[in-house]
């Protein structure tokens, strides 16, 4: 005669982890695709100004950045607290901008050279004197497409 066995102490089955790698891989690919490596290590600190009429910078390979802001705390002793310009990984003088732009442009493909955009990432507290100097240097180097990096303003 069949006997229905009833275990009073039923054990909970172990969690099935066979799909765990799939989930992790999915997450991995998500983060891989959205990641953009930091281009440079910033030596200046800045908060972007705000604006409303923003356009996205399309091709990252065609964009070069000029950072303007006060040196971060570890460089403050050496460079003071005045606004400074950073090109690539180093502090730069405004006179170096022209050479930098020309070098970067000649490294690009010929058909892309006219499409180069310079993004000015400056702190919102910066005085316009330094920005105007940068603009004059860019004009002289024929880098006429510029973009003032800013964040979207939500309200006044």
């Amino acid at each position: 005669m069949a006997k229905i066995r009833r275990n009073d102490k039923r054990e909970m089955p172990a969690l099935n982890t066979s799909s765990l790698p799939d989930i992790i891989f999915m997450l991995l690919f998500f983060f891989m695709s959205v990641t953009s490596m930091k281009e440079v290590s910033l030596k200046v600190q800045f908060t972007n100004p705000q604006a409303t009429e923003l356009t996205k910078l399309e091709k990252k390979s065609l964009v070069r950045y000029i950072y303007v802001g006060t040196p971060t705390s570890e460089f403050r002793k050496q460079y003071g607290a005045e606004s400074r310009i950073q090109l690539d990984d180093a502090f730069a003088d405004k006179r170096e901008i022209g050479d930098y732009i020309i070098n970067e442009r000649s490294a690009m493909k010929e058909q892309d050279q006219g499409l180069m955009t310079v993004s000015i990432k400056a702190d919102k507290e910066t005085r316009m004197g330094i920005i105007a100097d940068i603009k004059q240097e860019l004009r002289r180097a024929y880098a006429l497409k510029i973009s003032y990096a800013a964040t979207q303003r939500t309200s006044y």
């Binding site: 790698p21 891989f25 997450l27 983060f31 959205v34 000015i120 005085r127």
Partner: protein
């Protein structure tokens, strides 16, 4: 397997920065060749709108103190000159082809932005932003009137034709010291 992918996952998690690069796109004027003399181009006074920002970030438009929030409307009035006022830019008639037909527009208007060396970057950008916004709004109004869609949804050729009606003319002088410390 899962361990390795966990490791990679954590690596990408840490290095991820999801910042979007956006900004106010502008175009600088071409440099003046050194052998060319700087000519003072004579612009009729009515065609010129002077926007000055001083070192205290105060705004002066056509000789009057103004808040930056009013600048957009003022610029739109100036660019359009709907009532053919004599203190706004001169209107020109031109045939823009279908569907625009013959339109009056202020062909020679110039908005001149002058800032001080000590002007704050944010204040300067606010002014630039409002002026660009004025043009964008005018173009959008035009697109809605003739094509019943937003300006941004039009194809590039049509956008260029609208740009001809509202050409963006923002001139920037070299910064000078206008009083104040």
């Amino acid at each position: 397997m899962a361990d390795i992918s966990f490791l990679l996952l954590i690596f990408f998690l840490v290095t991820t920065s999801m910042d979007v690069n956006q900004g106010l796109a502008r175009r600088l004027p071409a440099p003046i060749p050194p052998d060319q003399k700087v000519e003072d181009t004579d612009i009729n006074k009515r065609n010129l709108m002077v926007v000055k920002i001083n070192s205290m970030n105060q705004l002066m438009v056509q000789g009057q103190l103004m808040d930056v929030k009013q600048l957009r409307e003022e610029a739109k009035k100036f660019i359009k000159n709907e009532n053919d006022d004599t203190w706004y830019p001169k209107l020109f008639e031109e045939d823009f082809g279908a569907p625009f037909g013959v339109l009056k527009y202020t062909k020679e208007h110039v908005i001149s932005v002058q800032n001080d060396v000590d002007t704050q970057y944010q204040a300067y950008l606010n002014v630039q932003n409002e002026l660009v916004a004025a043009y964008n709004e005018l173009r959008d109004e035009c697109a809605r009137k003739y094509f019943h869609t937003a300006y941004n949804d039009l194809d590039e050729d049509t956008q260029k034709r609208i740009q001809k009606i509202y050409p963006q003319k923002i001139s920037e002088a070299e910064p000078k010291n206008y009083g104040g410390n």
